[in-house]
């Protein structure tokens, strides 16, 4: 019961945040609403028993990635976005397509979705277990992603460094 209530509440918060991201014109509000979405998603994870995932969600997504976004928004001092009408396609095909697709999927989920219910903390994603999986079964993907991150760091440094001065590179 409590479980369902919590789910509904934070689900509502989630959706609200997402919709807010859509309607807000200022990127910083979008970023903050996204942070809200992520926070409530962390709670959903907790409800699903994935406590470690929840913690990492908060630390990595809300605590690092979104801070990066906010940082960039502040740095570029991005203002209100002006509603230019650059693309008819997006409106003519994209939005209807998205609607059709999501409606269909929702219908499938409701009609054909298994009614299987998960009790709170059904599957305790304890850090030990996750770590075991990560470093035994998924060792190779783990290492590969590490390389990916390394490359990403270098790419970011090179891209963001000032082309004229070498200052940016020194910073990185």
């Amino acid at each position: 019961m409590l479980h369902l209530i919590l789910f509904l509440v934070f689900g509502a918060v989630c959706v609200a945040g997402a919709v807010n991201l859509l309607v807000q014109r200022h990127p910083i509000n979008g970023a903050l609403s996204l942070v809200v979405v992520m926070g409530s998603l962390a709670v959903e994870y907790l409800l699903l028993g994935a406590e470690f995932v929840a913690a990492v969600q908060v630390i990595v997504y809300a605590g690092a990635i979104m801070v990066l976004f906010v940082f960039v928004i502040m740095l570029l001092n991005a203002g209100e976005e002006e509603r230019t009408r650059g693309s008819k396609v997006a409106m003519l095909f994209g939005v209807p397509g998205m609607l059709v697709g999501s409606i269909l999927i929702g219908w499938v989920l409701i009609e054909r979705g298994s009614g299987a219910a998960v009790p709170a903390g059904a599957l305790p994603g304890a850090p030990k277990v996750i770590g075991w999986l990560l470093f035994h079964d998924f060792l190779l993907p783990f290492e590969v992603t590490s390389i990916l991150v390394l490359i990403a760091i270098m790419g970011a440094v090179v891209l963001a460094s000032h082309p004229d001065t070498d200052q940016g590179r020194k910073e990185g």
Binding site: G86, S87, K88, V89, A90, M91, L92, F93, G94, V95, P96, G97, M98, V100, G101, L104, I105, V108, R112
Partner: protein, 672 residues
């Protein structure tokens, strides 16, 4: 089995030389290049010599398999080398003469551009030729066969800036293609019916067969096709036309490839497959007839030529005709014997001619020479030896080989003999004509006058001069060989014992005694007991001596005629020519054969391909397809390229729409 002979070294050494010179030669100095080329060709020669010395101790034939090349079902072709008496002789000739000519070239090509190119090609040729000779199966032989074709093409067109040279190279290559076509089909037939190309296996499977006396058969077909290939490579009628033009190449090349070694490949191949020919009398007859005709034909042309190298070229053709006569009457050892001696004296003649040309600064027209006897004594004397040798004057090499051929031809049919004899007369006539024109009388050239004449060879240092030692030494060596080379084959009737014939015996003795009649069967007049390889003195020894006398006298008559016409009173030839009129003109123009071929084959072929292949297929079908498809693609993309508006959100829209389609499809499939 014999301990490792390292036969593979023999071809590979020149290849190494070719690779080194060809790849890095540009950087090297001439000394380095020449040193390398000589080193590797000489090394090959040395290996051959060592093999030759140990040869008597070997269990022959000796096969050395390096690797399996093709294995398809029961058919197998290896990289294998095959050494027996025949290939040994060929090896000695090729490497020996080749080495000498390498030395000669160092001096001769001294002032030429592309020094490294020349020697790279030359070594390459050695490699392929040795592969051809050493091959243990027809396929590997074919590789060498094609390879020497390539090398000769490269070397004929060595001065590729000269149109005539380039054209001659192409001509040689294309004409050879025709022959190779026949050869290739013969190989296919062999594979189809004997399931192998290996010499020994083919021999095993052929030997039980009986001679196809009754007209044509499988073996006849194979034999004829092989003959086509041989005719192409060895410049026999009707494919001889490339050889005279091949004289566009540097003289050492003419000596090595187009006199001594490559052109004899056909003879070698025919002798190599003698088992097949012995069982195909028709084919043998054809071989003999072709050889006879070629000999006569080329000789007549040679009489009228004025270009010194052309004369030698036609004499080469006619001598090759001799060899084919020998093959045609089943006297393979005689053919090889003549091949060897011919390699000596014809190589000598060419080199000497080259030395003459060198001396008179690139002039090749004999009418512009004369009286060189005193100016270039070395060349003169060596040339003299060569001339006597080819004219068949005893005791020079040519005498013995030619005499044996004539004798065997007589045994086969007096027709061959008669024509051969007349050819011999012509041969000595035009050779001495060349001799007189070049060395006697007064000098008619202009080289003395002007010091700077840019002749094709461009030996800028005018004035008539003896060639450098590096060129003279090979001349001398070859001259000695031309004198003594024949002595190893002195027929019994002249108090010798035909050692050469005996040596080659094991290769050529027919596997089944009953088939000794092969040559006899070739010409229906086979007298019994004349079939063995060596002529027996007890039978017809006297007649043989008589024939020898006749041929010698023929040679002398030729000499006399030449002396009369070209030394005693040089006016006479003109009058005779005018007397002969049309016939003479025809002969001068080589019987218009080139023009005939051009009219018959070349022009129709070019026209047809231009009409059908070029305009019809290439332009209207292939190009049209490509152009139209490209044009269509261009238009289509031009119409839909506006999808790529450069706007991110539009792309996102397309993606979303596509995803929606996929989802719809999946849901439709899933819920059906």
């Amino acid at each position: 089995m014999t301990p490792d002979l390292h036969l593979w070294l023999i071809p590979v050494l020149p290849l190494v030389g070719a690779v080194i010179n060809g790849l890095f030669g540009k950087k090297f100095s001439q000394q380095t290049i020449a040193g390398l080329a000589l080193l590797f060709s000489g090394a090959a020669f040395a290996v051959v010599l060592s093999v030759a010395f140990r040869f008597s101790a070997l269990a022959t034939p000796h096969t050395e398999t390096l690797a399996t090349w093709i294995r398809a079902g029961s058919f197998q072709a290896d990289f294998a080398f095959y050494l027996d008496h025949l290939s040994l002789v060929m090896l000695l000739v090729v490497t020996g003469v080749g080495f000498l000519i390498h030395i000669y070239s160092v001096g001769y090509m001294g002032e030429e551009g592309g020094f490294y190119r020349f020697f790279a090609y030359l070594n390459l040729f050695m490699f392929f030729m040795l592969t051809l000779v050493l091959a243990s199966n027809y396929l590997l032989m074919f590789i060498g066969w094609e390879g020497v074709g390539l090398a000769s093409y490269l070397l004929i067109g060595f001065w590729f800036t000269k149109d005539t040279a380039a054209a001659a190279g192409k001509k040689a290559f294309i004409v050879n293609r025709i022959g190779d076509f026949g050869f290739l089909i013969a190989l296919f037939l062999l594979i189809k019916h004997f399931g192998s190309l290996n010499f020994e296996q083919v021999a095993q499977r052929v030997s039980p067969l009986n001679p196809e006396t009754g007209g044509a058969g499988l073996l006849t077909a194979i034999g004829l096709l092989l003959m086509v290939g041989a005719a192409g490579k060895s410049a026999q009628i009707p494919l001889y036309v490339w050889l005279p033009d091949a004289m566009e190449g540097p003289t050492p090349v003419s000596a090595l490839i187009h006199a001594a070694t490559m052109v004899t490949a056909g003879v070698y191949m025919v002798s190599r497959s003698h088992l097949i020919f012995e069982r195909a009398p028709t084919a043998l007859t054809v071989v003999a007839i072709v050889g006879t005709l070629t000999a006569l034909f080329a000789a007549t042309i040679g009489v009228t030529q004025t270009d010194i190298k052309k004369v030698l070229a036609y004499s080469t053709v006619s001598q090759l005709g001799y060899m084919f006569i020998a093959c045609g009457v089943g006297a393979f050892s005689a053919a090889i014997f003549h091949l060897m001696t011919h390699a000596f004296f014809k190589g000598l003649l060419f080199l000497a001619a080259g030395s003459v040309i060198h001396a008179v600064s690139g002039e090749q027209d004999m009418r512009q020479m004369g009286g060189l006897r005193t100016k270039i004594p070395w060349t003169f004397w060596t040339m003299t030896v060569g001339t006597f040798a080819i004219a068949g004057i005893p005791p020079f090499a040519g005498f013995f080989s030619k005499d044996e051929i004539l004798w065997r031809a007589y045994q086969a049919s007096w027709v061959y003999w008669a024509i051969g004899l007349f050819t011999a007369l012509l041969t000595s006539f035009y050779m001495f004509r060349l001799w007189f024109l070049t060395f006697f009388g007064v000098y008619r050239g202009a080289a003395e006058a002007s010091d700077e004449d840019a002749a094709p060879h461009g030996h800028g240092h005018g004035g008539i001069h003896e060639s450098p030692m590096v060129m003279v030494i090979p001349l001398v060596v070859l001259a000695v060989l031309s004198v003594t080379g024949g002595w190893i084959g002195v027929p019994a009737s002249l108090g010798g014992s035909n050692r050469f014939g005996k040596f080659l015996g094991p290769t050529f003795e027919s596997t089944t005694p009953g088939l000794k009649a092969g040559p006899g069967a070739a010409s229906q007049v086979a007298p019994p007991g004349k079939e063995s390889e060596q002529p027996e003195p007890q039978t017809g020894g006297a007649s043989e001596v008589a024939l020898t006398g006749i041929s010698v006298s023929a040679a002398l008559i030729g000499f006399g005629l030449a002396w009369l016409l070209y030394y005693r009173n040089p006016r006479l030839p003109q009058q005779i020519a005018s007397r002969l009129g049309g016939f003479y003109r025809a002969v001068v123009n080589k019987y218009y054969v080139d023009e005939l071929y051009a009219a018959l084959f070349v022009k129709p072929l070019i026209a047809g391909s231009a009409l059908i292949l070029w305009h019809g297929i290439d332009q209207d079908v292939i190009d049209a397809t490509l152009d139209n498809s490209a044009h269509g693609a261009n238009e289509v993309s031009d119409s839909i390229r506006h999808m790529q508006s450069g706007n991110l959100r539009s792309y996102a829209g397309w993606v979303a729409a596509g995803a929606a389609l996929v989802i719809v499809y999946m849901v439709w499939v899933g819920t059906r």
